[in-house]
Structure formats: C-alpha cells, structure tokens
Symmetry: C2
Subunit: 129 residues, 2 copies
DNA sequence: TATAATGTCTATACTTAGTATAGGGTCAAG
DNA sequence: CTTGACCCTATACTAAGTATAGACATTATA
C-alpha cells in the first residue's frame, strides 16, 4: 500500500510517517517505479505500536527501545515492565508539579477582584515579588 | 550592572537573559564602551517579573501581554485576571489528561509480571492492539 | 609590560515531536 | 493532452531555552 493508505489505516499523518522513517522508528520501505513508498501489513502494525506508545506519552527514544526489545522474543520482558514503571513515576511527578502550580495560581487569583486597575492589581503585585 | 551580575541577582542564566532580549521581553539595554550590556534596577525588576511568570508556566507570549498591560497603570486589570483564570483552566485540563494517562498506564502495568518473555509480555501485547 | 584569567560578545546548532510549506514528479481518467 | 489526486525531497517553523565556537574586553598577577 502507498503512504496515503497507511496514513488512513493508522490515523497518522503522511508527514508523521515520513518523520518516523527519518528518525529510524520505521524501516525504509521499498519503493515503486515512480519512487513511491510501498508498505506491507508489518509496517502498519509497527506504526500502530508506535502510535499507541505515543498516545501514552512514551518518548520516541523509549519507543525505539521497546521496538528493539521486540526483536528478541525469548528474552525476559523485565525491562519493558521497568520502562512502564518509570514512565508512570514521571507522569506522577508531573501531576504533583501541576497540582502545586495550581495551588499557587489559585491563591494568586484570590488576590484581585475585577474592579482593580493595573496599578493596584493584586495579581500583578504578587508577580513582582 | 553587567549581565553576569544581573544573572546572579535574578537567578536567570546569561543565555536566557540574552534570549529574552532577542524575543523582545527585555528591552535592549545600553552598552558600555566595550559593547557590554549595562542594566539598571528596572531591568532587574522586569526580569524578576518574567521569571515569576515563567515559574507559573505562563507562556512567553502571555508574559508579553502582561508586560504590555503594565504600561497602562490606570486601566482595569480584568484582562490580567482573565489570563490567570484561563491559565488555571489549562493547568486543570493538563492534570486531568495526565490522570487519565496514569490510569491507562497503571492498568497496563498490571498485565504483566516480571517472569514473562517479550513474546508473551502482557504490556507489549496491549501496545499492539 | 606581558600574560593569564575572567567576563562578555555574536552567531549558530541542538533539543521534542511533529506540522507546514515550496516546488517539483507520477499516475489515472476524460 | 490536460486536469486532479497523489506522492517526492528539502526546508523552515513551533517553545523555551541550552550549549557551543571563536573572538573581543577587562582585570589581576608576575
């Protein structure tokens, strides 16, 4: 199939597919006489795998590591589990960070009613500390 | 004061200061005979304001809008309040998104014990859907 | 006075994960 | 033979900095 069809099947944009190829996440596909990329089902499966990972916010570098692992089907998958655990920890940390941020922002928001001017704005004066 | 001193006083790196100048957040400072940037207290205050905003993850574009507002001290600060409200909403949305992500990741993590192989890994098979 | 050590300058490249264009080639239908 | 749909490469852009190279300025020391 051509790249447009692959894009349709996977929900990735054509540019993204070419981008993943440049970055080495997708193998260079065979080409037609007219130099069009030609993909098979294996390529589609691989791309879907990548897309799932990205939807979970797993970085391209980590996706690459996962894809490498898949080449050794009889090895232990402990590293895969570890990668996911670490990723969960990262997400947790980010949530904590944002919740703290939210607290500060909410407190600040309290410091000013709409009736003030720029000069007397409670929010701006907080930001000048 | 020179850029190094300003960096020390504000906790911003020298590169970041020059970067903000290029981006128009900081005014172009006067220069010494030897072409060194020379800053006054107003510049330091402005930079601290920027730093506070950035610490709250307010984008540079939004910081620019806030800085512009500060030029009209007698205007209403309703727009400032609005900007902060919208920012809080963004942070909220991001937290929600990450929490959903975490749920999916945690569920997935359950699907595999360390004793499996790549071939039989419950996590990888989830990612292939 | 010479030189070494800092401090600073500009310009450029790099990061992430794509997205968006320009300017061209390929292929099928009418 | 031209139109339209599809595809190609190469390049630039996004955000918010960080990190260099290579040069110039200033200050301290020998």
């Amino acid at each position: 199939m051509q790249i447009g069809e692959l894009a349709k099947q996977t929900g990735c944009s054509i540019q993204t597919i070419r981008f993943y190829e440049r970055k080495g996440l997708l193998d260079k596909p065979s080409r037609s006489e007219g130099n069009y990329r030609l993909y098979d089902k294996a390529a589609a499966d691989r791309l879907i795998f990548i897309k799932q990972c990205r939807a979970l916010d797993i970085s391209m570098k980590e996706v690459e590591r996962l894809l490498e692992q898949k080449n050794s089907p009889n090895q232990s998958c402990a590293n895969v589990n570890l990668l996911i655990e670490e990723h969960i920890a990262q997400v947790d940390a980010k949530i904590d960070e944002l919740q703290q941020l939210k607290t500060v922002l909410a407190d600040m928001s309290q410091k000013c009613s709409n009736e003030n001017t720029i000069k007397t704005c409670g929010i701006l004066s907080e930001l000048e500390r």
